[in-house]
Amino acid sequence: MTALTAVSGRRRRTDRAARGVLLALTGVALIPLVLVVYYLLKRGLGAISWDFFTTDPTGSFLGDPGGIKSAILGTIEIVALATLIAVPVGVLVALYLVEFGRGKRFGNLVRYFVDVMTGVPSIVFGLFIYIVLVTSSFVGVGFAGWKGGVALALLMLPVVIRSGEVVLLLVPDGLREAALALGAPRWKVALRVVLPSALPGLITGSLLAIARAAGETAPLLFTSAYVLGTSFNLDGRMNSLPLQIFSDVGQAQDRLVQRAWGAALTLVALVLLLTLIARLFQRRNRYT
């Protein structure tokens, strides 16, 4: 038998160097996050005050630019509407895929096209809603908050379906079989046994979809459009945080740019809050 030889110096150095490079690149991956957060706080905090949240943008270029009240409320309204559409439909389609579509050709077809939908760029959804709902006359021509909501719902739908499917699949078949053996009909098993036991996971998926939708700009550009005032009329133009930022970035005026940073900080805080809540629900998931 030969004695074990130590790892040669060259190999050890290569190993150390390679591990160092991997560590360094991981550090590089974190730089943008640090920088974005740093600049958001540095430039955004200065903009934030009570008035910032309680006044509408004035549209004045040189004078007082106003706050972002209409944008915050608009984002909440539009995203709430999108959630009301996308979450029930998405969860039910996921339920179909898991309860009836497993291993079936049709189920796989739906699954495939849902994946296709995930990859569709958000601007294309906006384009689609623009053609179908904004320019054609069957629902009334013109920009409207609800049309933006529908565009966001289309964007959320595949995310809700796919994440829903994953968590519904985790519900053990034993649970379904037990309920069926007790004589429960399929619909009752699906709605009263499977859905409740997957609830935390479904909430996580939905919240992540909402967080993604809340930050989307492109689908809203020509569906709900930019407007100054606060509106609670879903059939009229409606402001939103991303569009407020987009509109302010293009202005060569420091106070407007500062408002953009403040609005961006607000938006990121909102999205992070949603992500955080989603993570908390993920912890409560029984089946992982």
């Binding site: 790892v7 290569t14 190993d15 390679a18 490079v21 991997l22 560590l23 690149l25 991981t26 590089v28 991956a29 943008p32 996050l33 920088l35 974005v36 600049y39 958001l40 439909v89 039910l92 389609v93 179909y96 895929l97 579509g101 189920g107 739906v110 096209f113 296709v116 939908m117 990859g119 569709v120 760029p121 958000s122 601007i123 294309v124 384009l127 689609f128 053609i131 320019t135 379906i161 004589g183 009909p185 399929r186 619909w187 699906a190 809340a214 930050g215 989307e216 700009t217 492109a218 020509f222 991303p242 987009f246 970035v249 740019v257 940073w261 938006l267 990121v268 999205v271 992070l272 993570r279």
Partner: protein, 321 residues
């Protein structure tokens, strides 16, 4: 069913008969859900057909090939040939891949294989957080932080390495490199997350066998982990590519929006998604212009579709859904 043959107590119901009304709802439930799923399919079909039909004015005037492969996007003369936009889209996405993928894969390797267990959770969350920053915020940051701060460095690079292809000449403020850099940051979390999943599927045996044969940790990664997960990582990168191709707002803000084929990476450019975002407002009253923008959307749609389909095929081969 056998239950019917069991002796029932007087007045009892067999299992078959149990709550017949409620069982009768089963087929409706099933068909209801099926119809809903079919509607989603119909929606996608409708989506595609509608886009094609509305893009007709532009496609019939310039021809599909002319629209995609000729370079002349001139709104004032009502000519829409999108080659410069296609090139801009591809160039920015490729820059994003070149910059983003190595970092994303390295981070995935480090987090899954090398980092101390305590740091694993925190690192994963931090990298995933990059995905939580909205596109428009990256755009804002790009315009007011990246562009001004990187310009001197870009000019230095351009002057020093002008012998390289696609480098040299004066640096524009907003340019395709900056757009690619922002896209790299935006695709980093998704590429890294999927790569992590793929790397986690490498069998423990393979890694332990490599280590038992005396491999160092890096050699273990190189001979056991990377070959096994290579195709999955390629798939992850292509999903990132799909994301980069369709990304709109951040790119619109930093790419320069000049409909010319960029000659070097610090030139201004334009992308399919950005042109839609920018020109839709002014196009409303010009059916040809609207048609051209929708055709641009269609090209974008088909491009992302092809990339994503290929990516899914590759990823699914390695990670069973």
């Amino acid at each position: 069913m056998e239950a019917g043959s069991l002796r029932l107590p007087p007045g009892g119901r067999s299992l078959d008969e149990r709550s017949p009304a409620s069982r009768a709802a089963d087929p409706f439930f099933r068909w209801g859900l099926t119809v809903l799923a079919t509607l989603v399919l119909a929606l996608i079909a409708f989506f595609f057909i509608f886009l094609v039909s509305k893009a007709q004015p532009a496609l019939s005037k310039f021809g599909l090939l002319g629209f995609v492969f000729k370079d002349n996007w001139d709104v004032s003369r009502n000519i829409y040939e999108a080659w410069s936009l296609v090139v801009g889209t591809i160039v920015t996405s490729v820059i994003a891949l070149v910059l983003g993928v190595p970092v994303a894969v390295a981070a995935a390797l480090y987090v899954t294989e090398l980092c101390p267990a305590r740091a694993k959770g925190a690192l994963t969350i931090l990298i995933d957080l990059l995905a939580a920053v909205p596109s428009v915020v990256y755009g804002l940051w790009g315009v007011f932080v990246l562009i001004p701060h990187l310009k001197p460095a870009e000019q230095w690079f351009s002057d020093t390495f002008s012998f390289l292809p696609f480098v040299g000449g004066s640096v524009a403020g907003p340019n395709v490199f900056i757009a690619g850099l922002i896209l790299a940051i935006m695709i980093l979390p998704i590429v890294s997350a999927i790569s992590r999943e793929v790397i986690l599927t490498v069998p423990r045996d393979h890694k332990e066998a490599a280590l038992a044969l005396g491999a160092t940790r890096w050699e273990m990664l190189r001979i056991a982990v990377l070959p096994y997960s290579r195709s999955g990582i390629v798939g992850a990168s292509m999903l990132g590519l799909g994301r980069a191709i369709g990304e709109t707002i951040a790119v619109t803000l930093v790419v320069g929006n000049a409909p010319n084929v960029p000659h070097q990476i610090f030139d201004q450019g334009y992308t399919l998604a950005a042109v839609i975002a920018n020109e839709f407002g002014e196009a409303a009253n010009n059916p040809l212009h609207v048609g051209a923008l929708i055709a641009a959307g269609l090209v974008l749609f088909v491009l992302t579709l092809a990339v994503n389909a290929a990516a899914r095929a590759i990823v699914n081969r390695t990670v069973p859904a």
